[in-house]
C-alpha cells in the first residue's frame, strides 16, 4: 500500500503518479496482473476510499491521475459496463465482507455485472417490482422475470431488486441482493429491438438461490439502495451526454496488454455500439448535407440550424450547471434538463437526417447512406425518450422537484398486494 495521503496538491500527486508509473508501467504485463498492481497501489480507483483500494482523491486530483495514465498510455482499472455502479452501491451500502468479495475483481475486470431492476410490469414504475424473494433457512429463493438487462449474458453477478414483503407499501417491501448469474435458476434470453440489435436481455429467474450474506442493506430497505445505483447511473449518463468521454483512448497503445484490454472492451462495450445513433448523431448532419448538396435546400438549412442550436445549447446548459456547481453557486434548474433535452435533440436530428437523405431514408444496411448509419439513426432515436426514464417521467421530475409543482395524486399507497398492476 502507498503511504496514506491527507490532502495533497495537484503537483505532488502528478509527481507521485508519474514516478510510480515510471517504476511500474510495462505494456507487456498481463492485464489482470497489472490491474492487481493498480488495486494494491490505489492508482486504479484513486477516488475510492483508502481503505478500499483507493486514495480518497477529489475529482480534480483524479483528473490529474487520468492525465498521467493517458500521457504514457497506461491501462487503468476496468471501468466499462455497469461495474462502477455496482462498486458505488457496495461502497455505500455493502458490508466489509461484500467489499472484500467483489471490489477487487471489479477493478481487475475479472467480474462483469448487470442490473436486475426493470420488469415487464414495472418500467417507469421501478418500485412496482414483483420478482419475489422468500427466505428459506439461510437462503433467499428468487422467482420472477427481469428485462432490459444489459450484459446479463456474460455477467458474473447481478444487482437484484426483489419484493420480500407484499403487505408493506410498495417502496417499503423491496430488498436488494447480489445474485450469482451462473446458476441453473437463472436463464438469460436476448431481447431483439426494432433496430435489429439485441443489446438487452430478458432474465427468467426460477427458484434461484441467493445466500443470506449476499443481501445488501436491511430487508425492506432495497429501494434506498437501488436509488444509490440509479443516482450514479444518472450522473454517468449526464457525463456521457455532456461529452466528457468515459475512458481516454490515446496513442501509445502498442503493448500486448492493450490487445487484452481491447478484447475485453469488445465484449463489454458491444451492447452500446448503437447508442450514438440513438442520440441522433448531430455530428453527421452538416457533413452529410454538404456532401449530398442538400445544404442548398432552404428547408434543410432551417432545420439544420435548429438542430445545431439545440445541441450546442444543450451542451452549454450542462456546462453552466457544472460551472455554477464548481463556483459553489445555488443549484439552478439547468442541471436537471439534460435527459429531456437530449430527446429533443435526437428527434430533431432524425428529422434533419431524413430531410438530407430524402428518398434514401427508405433504405437500410449497405444501401443506406453511410453504410446504414443513417438508417440506424432513424430506427434507434425512438428509444432515447424511453430508455433510462421516459420523457414523461422526466417532465414529472422537473415539474415536481425543480419547479416545486404539486405531486401527482397517488393511487399506489397501502399494502402492495392490493395495488392494481399488470
Amino acid at each position: 500500500m502507498s503511504t496514506p495521503v491527507t490532502t495533497p496538491d495537484q503537483d505532488s500527486v502528478r509527481q507521485e503518479v508519474r514516478s510510480w508509473l515510471e517504476a511500474n508501467w510495462d505494456a507487456d504485463t498481463p492485464l489482470i496482473a497489472w490491474r492487481n498492481k493498480l488495486v494494491d497501489s490505489g492508482w486504479g480507483m484513486p477516488e475510492w476510499p483508502e481503505a478500499w483500494h483507493g486514495r480518497g482523491y477529489s475529482a480534480e486530483l483524479v483528473r490529474v491521475v487520468e492525465q498521467e495514465f493517458g500521457r504514457v498510455g497506461a491501462v487503468t482499472g476496468a471501468k466499462a459496463g455497469i461495474r462502477l455502479l455496482a462498486a458505488a452501491t457496495l461502497l455505500e451500502h455493502g458490508t466489509d465482507a461484500h467489499k472484500r468479495t467483489w471490489l477487487r475483481r471489479i477493478i481487475t475486470g475479472e467480474d462483469t455485472w448487470c442490473q436486475l431492476f426493470s420488469e415487464p410490469g414495472s418500467g417507469s414504475d421501478l418500485a412496482g417490482a414483483t420478482t419475489r424473494a422468500d427466505l428459506r433457512g439461510d437462503e433467499w429463493i428468487i422467482n420472477g422475470q427481469k428485462v432490459w438487462t444489459t450484459s446479463a449474458h456474460h455477467a458474473n453477478w447481478g444487482l437484484l431488486l426483489a419484493r420480500t414483503d407484499w403487505d408493506a407499501p410498495k417502496h417499503k417491501g423491496l430488498t436488494f441482493f447480489v445474485i450469482n448469474m451462473h446458476q441453473p435458476g437463472v436463464v438469460v434470453q436476448p431481447l431483439r429491438q426494432m433496430n435489429g440489435h439485441a443489446s438487452f436481455n430478458q432474465v427468467f429467474i426460477t427458484d434461484a438461490v441467493v445466500p443470506r450474506e449476499y443481501q445488501v442493506g436491511q430487508v425492506g430497505n432495497g429501494w434506498a439502495v437501488a436509488m444509490t445505483t440509479l443516482a450514479h447511473e444518472r450522473r454517468r449518463a449526464d457525463g456521457l451526454r455532456s461529452g466528457s468521454s468515459d475512458v481516454d483512448r490515446g496513442s501509445l497503445r502498442r503493448g500486448r496488454i492493450h490487445a487484452e484490454e481491447d478484447a475485453e472492451n469488445l465484449t463489454v462495450l458491444a451492447p452500446y455500439t448503437w447508442y450514438p445513433q440513438r442520440a441522433g448523431r448531430t455530428d453527421l448532419a452538416l457533413p452529410q448535407a454538404v456532401a449530398g448538396g442538400r445544404i442548398a435546400d432552404p428547408v434543410v438549412r432551417q432545420e439544420l440550424a435548429r438542430l445545431l442550436a439545440m445541441s450546442s445549447t444543450a451542451e452549454w446548459t450542462a456546462r453552466r450547471a457544472r460551472a455554477a456547481q464548481q463556483a459553489g453557486k445555488p443549484q439552478g434548474p439547468e442541471g436537471s434538463l439534460g435527459k429531456l433535452v437530449a430527446s429533443h435533440v435526437a428527434r430533431q436530428a432524425q428529422k434533419v437526417h431524413t430531410l438530407i437523405a430524402d428518398g434514401d431514408s427508405m433504405l437500410a444496411g449497405a444501401d443506406s447512406p453511410l453504410q446504414g448509419i443513417i438508417a440506424e439513426i432513424l430506427l434507434s432515436v425512438p428509444a432515447v425518450s424511453i430508455a433510462g426514464g421516459t420523457d414523461e417521467i422526466q417532465r414529472n421530475i422537473i415539474a415536481e422537484r425543480v419547479l416545486d409543482m404539486p405531486k401527482e395524486p397517488r393511487f399506489d399507497d397501502g399494502p402492495f398486494r392490493d395495488i392494481p398492476r399488470n
Binding site: 426493470s118 426494432m194 430524402d358 433504405l363 449497405a366 430506427l379 417532465r395 399488470n422
Partner: protein
C-alpha cells in the same frame, strides 16, 4: 371542376370496405405479415390470386372495357387504406396504383393490354420513374430512349422502384433525344440490358429495387404531354392513394395505442388516466382526422375531376406524412420499452410511416408543390 366532392362514402363503398377489412383481418394478421415480409418474393402470390378471384381487387380502378371493375379512385383509396391498416404486402401499390395510374394517364390506348393483364391479377407491373437523388423532379431525370430501326433502346438508372425486382414488366419514364417531354416505355424484365438490384429497406413490407438499363429494348407507350401533365397526374393519383394508405396505418396505430394505454397500469392506475397522455391523444386524434379529411377529399376530388388536383394531392400527402410519423412516434413512446422491441408489432407501422414519409416526396417537397400549384392556377393574382 366537373363533378362535385362528396364527404361521406356511399353504401356500396362502405360495404366494399367492410368486406375487404374482413378479408384482410382474416388473411393478414401481423403473424402472417411477418412471415411474408421475410419471404423472398416479399408478398403472398396465392393471397394475391384470391384477392383477384374473390374481390376483383387488382383491377378495382381499371375501366371495365379494359377488364377492370370500373370503380373510381375513391375505391382504390379505400383499398389502400385497408392495406395500410394491415400492412398486408401485395402487388397492389406497384401494379394497381402506380402502373395503373401511369398507363391510364399516359397510355390509355396503347396500354390497354397491360391494363387488362393487371386487372386479371396475373401480371405484375412496376413503374420505374424516379432516379438517383431528388425525387419527382422530372427535369433532372436522365434516362434516355434512342430510336433505332423501329424500336427504342433505353439507358439509365431508375431508383426506388416499388416491386422492381418482382415485376414482369417495367414501365419506364425516359427522355427521347428529339422530344421536349418525357415518354413512357414498356420494358420486359426478361430482356437483355435490364439489371435489377433489390435494395435493402427499412420497411420490409414494401420492396424496392434499383434498375439499371443498358440498351434495354423498350416499346413506346405514350408521352406525358405538355408540361409533363401526364406525369404530374400520375404523381397526383399515386400520392393520393399513398396518403389514404397512410391514413389506414395511422388509424390502426392510434386505436392500438389507445387500447394499450387503457390496459397498461403504472403507479397503480391505467396510464390512460394521466392527463398529459389524455391531452396528447386528443392532439394526435386531431392530426389523424385532419389527415383523413385531406386524403378522403383528394380521392373524391380525383373522381370529381377537380382541376387543382396537384394542390390537393400534395396537401394530402404532406399532412399524411407528418401525422403518420407523429402517430408512430407517439405509439412507441406510449408503449414504452415494449414498443421498441422486435416482437411488439408497433415498429412494423413505424417503419412503414418512416418509409412513406419520404416516398413520392418529403412533406416539405409537397408543401412547396402546393404553392407552385397555387401560383400556376393563378390563385395569387
Amino acid at each position: 371542376m366537373s363533378g362535385t366532392v362528396t364527404f361521406v362514402h356511399t353504401q356500396e363503398q362502405t360495404l366494399f370496405r367492410d368486406s375487404l377489412r374482413r378479408f384482410l383481418d382474416a388473411t393478414s394478421p401481423t403473424t402472417r405479415v411477418r412471415q411474408v415480409m421475410e419471404s423472398e418474393s416479399g408478398f403472398d402470390a396465392d393471397l394475391w390470386k384470391r384477392m383477384g378471384d374473390e374481390l376483383a381487387l387488382p383491377g378495382i380502378g381499371i375501366a371495365e372495357t379494359d377488364g377492370g371493375a370500373g370503380f373510381g379512385w375513391t375505391e382504390v383509396c379505400i383499398a389502400m387504406e385497408e392495406f395500410g391498416r394491415t400492412l398486408c404486402p401485395s402487388p397492389f401499390m406497384a401494379s394497381s396504383v402506380l402502373s395503373m395510374a401511369a398507363l391510364s394517364t399516359m397510355a390509355p390506348a396503347t396500354g390497354a393490354a397491360l391494363l387488362s393483364s393487371i386487372a386479371s391479377g396475373t401480371h405484375h407491373c412496376a413503374l420505374a420513374a424516379q432516379e438517383l437523388h431528388g425525387q419527382w423532379d422530372f427535369a433532372d431525370w436522365q434516362c434516355t430512349a434512342i430510336e433505332k430501326d423501329g424500336t427504342f433502346r433505353l439507358d439509365g438508372v431508375k431508383h426506388l422502384v416499388v416491386d422492381g425486382a418482382q415485376a414482369q414488366t417495367l414501365l419506364v419514364v425516359a427522355r427521347r433525344a428529339d422530344q421536349p417531354t418525357l415518354a413512357l416505355f414498356e420494358v420486359e424484365t426478361s430482356t437483355a440490358g435490364v439489371d435489377r438490384r433489390p435494395l435493402k429497406v427499412i420497411d420490409p413490407t414494401r420492396r424496392l429495387a434499383q434498375v439499371t438499363l443498358k440498351g434495354a429494348q423498350g416499346r413506346l407507350l405514350g408521352t406525358t404531354g405538355k408540361d409533363n401533365a401526364g406525369l404530374e397526374r400520375t404523381l397526383d393519383l399515386a400520392s393520393i392513394a399513398l396518403a389514404n394508405e397512410m391514413v389506414g396505418g395511422m388509424g390502426r396505430l392510434f386505436a392500438d395505442t389507445l387500447a394499450y394505454t387503457r390496459l397498461r397500469v403504472q403507479f397503480g392506475r391505467n396510464i390512460a388516466s394521466f392527463q398529459a397522455i389524455k391531452h396528447r391523444m386528443a392532439e394526435l386524434l386531431i392530426q389523424v382526422e385532419l389527415a383523413r379529411s385531406a386524403a378522403y377529399y383528394a380521392a373524391s376530388a380525383a373522381d370529381a375531376g377537380l382541376n387543382n388536383l396537384s394542390y390537393l394531392a400534395s396537401l394530402a400527402k404532406s399532412l399524411a406524412s407528418d401525422a403518420y410519423l407523429l402517430a408512430a412516434q407517439e405509439a412507441i413512446q406510449l408503449h414504452g420499452g415494449i414498443g421498441f422491441t422486435w416482437d411488439n408489432d408497433t415498429h412494423l407501422w413505424f417503419k412503414r410511416a418512416k418509409s412513406s414519409e419520404v416516398f413520392l416526396g418529403t412533406p416539405a417537397w409537397h408543401r412547396e408543390r402546393m404553392i407552385r400549384a397555387l401560383e400556376r392556377s393563378g390563385a395569387n393574382t
